[in-house]
């Protein structure tokens, strides 16, 4: 077993510097690497590019890095729900590259899988396709999209072991699985770091080869953005 375990978030983020490009897993606040984000705030790295489906909310998630003005550019598919983000974007302080969600996921997966680029129909005929190669396949137009290049990928999983194997829970899997191995160094934080050999090899979502560093995360808040419930007598 090749041991990927590090003792804490400080060790896990060794080598993180200003001007780097980071991938951060999560959809909304679901499955975000909370420990890595806190450490990025503490280290105060500046002018970073963040690839993340969303930009957090005011006061939590990537919203913390935005407030601290550490982010130079965001690459996301949806950035509502964050006033500070909107303010920085409209004032020109923050560069934003909006990318269709499926394209964003595939640009991660392509980087993970060693494809330099791929064609997708998403965005053809829109602003998103401007300046990009397009091509007809079977009578339908497609846009050429390049794989991402990133220095660090920060992902969060439910369970993991020292070999770097990961298991995700529910919809917290989202972009986390696609970002593993898509950057030079993948750092995984887990809710539960289990003994080697306890995870069933049949049920591993990410094999350890895609992960360089893994650590036991702590103090997860796991905030809910839209707590929505039904009444006890509601049938549906």
């Amino acid at each position: 077993m090749i041991n990927k375990k590090v003792n804490n978030v400080q060790e896990a983020l060794q080598g993180v510097q200003s001007n780097m490009t980071f991938m951060l897993g999560g959809f909304g606040l679901c499955g975000i690497p909370e420990n890595a984000i806190s450490e990025l705030v503490k280290r105060n790295v500046r002018d970073v590019i963040c690839i993340s489906n969303n930009a957090g909310v005011d006061g939590f998630g990537l919203g913390l890095l935005l407030e601290n003005k550490q982010i130079k550019k965001m690459i996301s598919s949806y950035v509502g729900e964050n006033d500070e983000f909107e303010r920085q974007m409209l004032s020109g302080e923050l560069e934003v590259e909006l990318t269709p969600q499926g394209t964003l996921a595939e640009k991660c997966r392509a980087a993970q899988a060693g494809f330099p680029a791929f064609y997708t129909p998403a965005g053809y005929g829109t602003e998103v396709a401007q300046g990009k190669e397009t091509r007809d396949f079977d009578g339908k137009m497609h846009v050429l999209e390049a794989a991402f290049k990133a220095d660090f990928a920060f992902v969060k999983a439910w369970k993991g072991d020292a070999a770097g194997n990961l298991v995700f829970k529910g919809t917290a899997r989202n972009f986390n699985q696609n970002m593993c191995g898509a950057a030079t160094i993948t750092v995984a934080e887990v809710e539960e770091l289990v003994e080697i050999g306890t995870l069933d090899p049949n049920n591993i979502h990410i094999p350890g080869i895609f992960v360089q560093r893994i650590f036991q995360g702590k103090e997860y808040e796991k905030r809910i953005e839209q707590r929505t419930v039904r009444f006890p007598n509601e049938s549906i």
Partner: protein, 217 residues
């Protein structure tokens, strides 16, 4: 005239047995509540769940189980979770049978705009561009006019596009319209609304063939 729930109820009639359905945020989310219970349908949410169930009872919410609107949800027996790339393989690969989403504008050639108002609002397209570029059966759920009273059913979209030539049907508070051969064909009127009222509220020219029936609600 219909309210938002009425629009959702009318669209629910379009959902057929055996369909995998992706619902957008807003009115489309309500559609799930009104699908006939004698048919089998599975709802896909692009953040990574197939077999989505209703909202959880208070106290059972799980931060790790949400829909694309970031609302807490439950899953039904037979449900599955997956990563974002797999989710969009379902969508791009045309495995999802029906896409229902909201819009700010729809044009008579099937163009749709719903992600950006230049200089005013930029929230992003989320999964909408992937959905409209690949789905073959796209129903738009929206009010016929915007908050300023202007028609959202247009000859040409004025806002930045989400997709080109893709919308197949539009259900509004006033009418059911089919988009075909570069024109809006009026299929049904909302209860108590006349053909004339619909045309007057519509910037695009409607194709009106024969007697137009009232929606059966």
């Amino acid at each position: 005239m219909l309210d938002k729930i009425g629009i959702a109820k009318r669209i629910a009639q379009e959902v057929q047995d055996g369909f995998y359905v992706n619902l957008g945020i807003g009115i489309p989310t309500l559609v799930a509540n009104y699908v006939r219970n004698d048919i089998e349908v599975e709802f896909q949410s692009e953040n990574g769940v197939l077999g989505m169930g209703p909202f959880p009872f208070e106290g059972t919410e799980d931060a790790d189980i949400i829909n694309a609107g970031k609302q807490t949800i439950t899953t039904l027996p037979g449900a599955s979770f997956f990563d974002s790339a797999t989710s969009f393989s379902m969508i791009r690969g045309k495995h999802v049978d029906l896409t229902i989403l909201g819009a700010m504008e729809v044009a008579e050639n099937g163009d749709i705009a719903n992600w950006k108002i230049p200089g005013k609002m930029v929230k992003g397209m989320g999964g909408a561009m992937d959905l409209v570029a690949s789905a073959e059966n796209i129903i738009v759920a929206m009010m016929h006019a915007n908050k300023r009273g202007e028609s959202k059913i247009l000859k040409t979209c004025s806002l930045p596009l989400t997709g080109v030539g893709c919308v197949t049907k539009v259900v509004t508070n006033l009418a059911v319209l089919e988009v075909r051969d570069n024109a809006f064909h009026l299929l049904e009127r909302a209860p108590g609304v006349s053909v004339e009222e619909i045309q007057n509220a519509t910037e695009a020219t409607l194709v009106i063939a024969g007697e137009i029936p009232e929606m059966k609600m």
